[in-house]
């Protein structure tokens, strides 16, 4: 069991960008946007049945014709300078009680992704996910960065709108990235790759909602495209932002006035912390989530 290759292209010092779904599908939307814009070619896929429960079965005349599993695919793009490999996992291998991979399955799938990176002599591995932040939905999401070495750390801070995790007021020097979008850059570092995780900010009060947060995906994309020297068209993601902004606004206006006022303090207070919602308010949100989504037509 492992990886099936559709072709064996000669790639020139490629970078790899990988993602799995997570909170707000921030990295997932960003990397899928890259995939659709770059006219990539399919490179191969991880044999998914080792990790996932099937999504669909097809039976014809009582013969089980096929099972369809969440895909875990590699793509590549030949470019003038460095080539590019994209990896998109449709699901994180679950561990019974969590949507995030952990333990042996997480290690195994991350290892397989990095085996491909190794096979094609990748230099750097980029992952992307969400950064739950005391920000406001009307503020441009910043991109939190963690890297595998000090040089990369210096390099990434030269980009506008990027902040290191250690610069976040409540994080100090210690943080954590849950799931495969964190495990991958960690394991990549251990295997000798340069690695980086770019996390788009999502307001804490939206982090538990079951819909995407493409504003943060756009922020991540802006950084990634500059690092990788890519030109892309943002119109599709902007359309998605327009649609989700509507839902976010409706949710915001359904919050109690006191909570809204507290959240609004964040717009003028860049340290954000003073405007953080209380645990009680956060619980209120969770309890009313179904009602809010019914009102807004979310799913």
């Amino acid at each position: 069991m492992g990886v099936i290759f559709y072709q064996e292209p000669q790639l020139n010092n490629p970078d790899m960008v990988a993602c799995w779904p997570g909170i707000g599908n921030i990295g997932f939307i960003a990397i899928n946007t890259l995939k659709s814009q770059l006219e990539v070619e399919e490179l191969g896929e991880i044999e998914s049945w080792e990790f996932f429960y099937p999504l669909k079965s097809v039976v014809k005349a009582s013969i089980l014709e096929k099972l369809i599993f969440p895909s875990s695919k590699f793509y590549f793009k030949k470019r003038r300078k460095r080539d590019l490999i994209l990896f998109i996992g449709e699901e994180q291998p679950s561990h019974g009680d969590s949507i995030y991979a952990r333990g042996a399955s997480a290690y195994r799938i991350a290892s397989l992704v990095l085996e491909v990176a190794n096979r094609f002599n990748c230099r750097r591995i980029y992952a992307s996910g969400a950064a739950i932040s005391f920000t406001h939905h009307e503020l441009k999401p910043r991109v939190w960065a963690v890297t595998s070495n000090r040089d990369l750390k210096r390099e990434i801070t030269t980009f506008a709108n990027v902040i290191l995790m250690s610069q976040i007021e409540d994080k100090r020097e210690i943080g954590n990235i849950t799931g495969l979008n964190g495990i991958l850059p960690g394991l990549a570092k251990q295997m000798g790759f340069e690695s980086m995780c770019l996390m788009g900010e999502i307001p804490d009060y939206l982090a538990g909602l079951p819909f995407p947060y493409p504003r943060a995906s756009r922020s991540v994309l802006e950084i990634l495209t500059r690092i990788l020297e890519l030109e892309i068209d943002y119109s599709n993601i902007d359309e998605l932002i327009f649609e989700t902004d509507e839902i976010v606004r409706e949710i915001y206006y359904s919050l109690p006035l006191e909570t809204r006022e507290k959240i609004d303090q964040r717009k003028s207070n860049q340290s954000y912390l003073h405007g953080s919602i209380t645990e009680e308010e956060s619980n209120w949100l969770k309890e009313h989530l179904d009602d809010l989504l019914k009102k807004t037509g979310g799913s």
Binding site: W49, E50, Y53, P54, L55, K56, S57, V58, V59, K60, A61, S62, I63, L64, L67, P93, S94, H95, G96, D97, S105
Partner: protein
């Protein structure tokens, strides 16, 4: 000591029959327990649960603690391995392969059957249908004439997932083991109870296919007792009579009515 079926170092061709604990109509437990008892099939092996279950506590059912199980039983005479266990919570493909690996210590698996129930709007006195889903044309052909409904087209609806049995059957196909899912129809309100009529249908099929020569008449007595209990419940609770009448005439109840009927029947007819 070599496993019992591995005489002289050559594994005999045999059959693996798998079922799940707490399946619809308790098909898995009902069928495998009966086979183990009547064929004197002894426990030969089990599967370590820690690789496939979260084990962050223990389930309690009717005040009894339950630990995940995955047990293997062997009847040497028929070269039959029976597997009965809890549905794994993750690493399903590896779980199925472990089941095949362990079974192949005792037999060379020539055919594989995984059994299960399908909840339907069937009235409890009606006949139970058996539906076969196969992983090869050869298996389908070999079961032609065995009374299985066998011309189904099906795709998992978007809001559902395939059954664990389909995945198990697919895993068998990956190992080039010919197999079939044998599903018995079960009245939805008997889903949490032993549906003896459905269990008997499955056993009838296995009896013929594997030449087991088992007497299944006990199932008729058990089913009769269950039907008496259902009749008593109808007399006691007018709602149950109303719901059952609706099922009998129209084969239809709304979701709340289904839940209520299932609860009433379970509470009044459980052992």
């Amino acid at each position: 000591m070599p496993p019992a079926g591995n005489i002289g170092g050559t594994r005999r061709p045999g059959t693996l029959v798998a079922g799940w604990k707490w399946d619809i109509g308790r098909l898995g437990t009902g069928v495998t327990n009966f086979l183990c008892q009547k064929l004197a099939a002894g426990l030969i092996n089990n599967l370590e649960p820690s690789d496939f279950f979260t084990l962050n506590g223990v389930k309690v059912r009717s005040d009894l603690v339950e630990f995940p199980e995955a047990n293997f039983y062997l009847n040497e005479k028929s070269n039959l391995v029976l597997f009965m266990g809890d549905v794994p919570e993750f690493r399903w493909f590896q779980f199925f392969n472990r089941v095949f690996d362990i079974s192949e210590q005792y037999i060379s698996i020539q055919q594989f059957f995984v059994i299960g129930g399908i909840s339907t709007f069937l009235y409890h006195t009606g006949g139970r249908d058996l539906i076969g889903i196969y992983n090869s044309q050869e298996m389908k052909r070999s079961l032609d004439g065995s009374g299985l409904a066998s011309e189904f087209d099906y795709e998992t609806p978007p809001d559902q997932k395939p059954s664990i049995n389909s995945f198990f059957l697919w895993a068998a196909w990956k190992r080039q083991i010919s197999g079939a899912c044998i599903f018995a129809t079960v009245p939805f309100y008997l889903a949490d109870l032993d549906d003896y009529a459905a269990q008997k249908s499955v056993l009838n099929f296995l009896n013929q296919r594997l030449n087991l020569e088992l007497d299944l008449s006990e199932f008729e007595d058990w089913q009769e007792k269950l039907e008496v209990k259902i009749d008593d419940t109808q007399r006691l609770i007018p709602e149950v009579e109303y719901y059952l009448d609706k099922v009998k005439k129209y084969r239809l109840l709304d979701e709340d009515e289904q839940t209520a009927l299932t609860r009433f029947i379970f509470e009044n007819c459980k052992d």
